[in-house]
Symmetry: C2
Subunit: 262 residues, 2 copies
């Protein structure tokens, strides 16, 4: 069946959402059938793609979000929208998911809701990417309990490793109590400023602490990458021949091996 | 008495902590007696200043944090450490504050714990700066219920305004139910890349939506600003004659007027 990949880091603004969209399209260009699931109530992935969703009237999107699937009000298959022109699909999110997270914490098996929704999905995909919110709450736990692989984007900044210890504990707990099959094979240094010594030192420190996971490919900080969402497209739709697109392609290739995607 | 200023934005990594330290020292250079309170369990402010705290053995810091004061185990005056060489003081945080946030949510008047601690503070300061965590939970609510003024750092990125609506609601709720005296007079565009059109458009959009609050002074994205915490100092300790120090000085002057600090 499909490989499910959770993009997770409880720190805000480290590049999770941007990486999910760019890797999704990068993998689609390699021939994979890709579904992205927006698990963040802030719904940045959904908002930046809003106008590009096939049959995605604002009303239809609002009533067919990941929340509907987690609450078992709708099958996941009814919440899938094609992203026109990029060759990938999306299950959208909405701010209401924030209230849902509180209410769903009373459910029996509350961490398994996403896994149940995915296990009953009758639509075929090769890869399902989970865009996590910046927290280690119920939504992120659902992602970890449902995922086969974990990818951690880490911003190359001072104190980047601080949050890693906490994240590692949570991943280990999920492996022990909910999902032994969960694998963690990738840490991706993002928004790297290759000119600054600080950036390089942080990446080296990451490699020392996570020698088996830190990717060879680094994702530098680039204006085009930051601009692409405001045009509703991935880096491939915004600047297909620029260096940033090439870096994402390299990362996608490297992750095919690391995450055993074929 | 002192003016208490909450630096708040539920989005992660927008520059709250960096601005708190740099404005603290900027105001100290103008003659204000400044105390910073680290309200974030991730304790980045505390960690970056760790080695510069007078009589700040690791053990003494751990047992005299903001948590001790919020739990009423110690008076706030016992949790104050001088930041050597920068002319400001700090009440440190610690990861244990994360657990405390959960337990303290059962307390009567749970949003007023910080205000109580500050009201009984017998040490003299002119300004007390509150460094909030990236959430709108109990710790941030305590900051809003205790503060006289709110400063919102906003990163000049696509979807920057998304979180503002939610933040505005919370500020309004606090004003209505807990603290009518709370004022919101400042929104500070941070990490602005003046060369990119996206950055300029986001700042213009901010000015349209918050004409009375957005500061004239913008805080550009600068390598020196990102590096300073790794040396345990403010921008004034790291690069006092560079452009970034000047930008912080301009901001401090502008905020003296906006926040009626004299
Ligand atoms: N490689 C990059 N170069 C330049 N800007 C980037 C890069 N990656 C992401 N950004 C920008 O940084 C900001 C944060 O990125 P993004 O929203 O992907 O992070 P996130 O981890 O998903 O944030 P959140 O925790 O809020 O979900 C966005 O404005 C995005 O455009
Ligand atoms: N003006 C700036 N120029 C360049 N880098 C900056 C600037 N301001 C902050 N940074 C860097 O951006 C990162 C995030 O900044 P900071 O920790 O102050 O944000 P924050 O809002 O406090 O984050 P959190 O939500 O995690 O508390 C840090 O690595 C910091 O050094
Ligand atoms: Mg995101
Ligand atoms: Mg901070």
């Amino acid at each position: 069946r499909e490989v499910r990949i959770a993009f997770i880091n409880q720190k805000g603004g480290v590049g999770k959402t941007t990486l999910v969209l760019n890797c999704a399209v990068g993998w689609a260009k390699l021939g994979f059938r890709v579904l992205m699931i927006d698990l963040d109530p802030q719904a940045h992935l959904t908002l930046s793609l809003g106008d590009s969703l096939a049959e995605g009237s604002l009303e239809r999107i609002e009533h067919n979000t990941i929340e509907s699937a987690l609450r078992r009000e709708k099958p996941l298959s009814e919440c899938i929208f094609e992203v026109v022109g990029e060759g990938v699909s999306l299950v959208p999110s909405h701010i209401d998911l924030s209230g849902a997270e509180g209410e769903l914490s009373q459910e029996l098996g509350r961490e398994m809701l996403l896994r149940d929704a995915l296990d009953t999905l009758d639509v075929e995909f090769d890869l399902i990417l989970l865009d996590c919110p910046p927290s280690l709450g119920l939504l992120s736990l659902n992602a970890l309990a449902a995922a086969d692989e974990v990818v951690v984007p880490v911003q190359a900044e001072y104190l980047a490793l601080q949050g890693m210890a906490q994240l590692m504990k949570i991943i280990t707990l999920v492996q022990e109590r909910l999902h032994p099959g969960l694998q963690w094979n990738a840490v991706v240094p993002t928004m790297v400023d290759p000119r600054t010594r600080l950036s390089r030192e942080v990446v080296e420190e990451l490699r020392r602490h996570f020698p088996d996971q830190v990717t060879r490919t680094l994702i530098p900080s680039r204006v085009k990458v930051a601009e692409a969402p405001s045009f509703g497209v991935s880096i491939f739709g915004h600047d297909p021949h620029g260096p940033a697109a090439g870096e994402i392609e390299d990362l996608c290739q490297e992750l095919v091996e690391r995450l055993s995607l074929t």
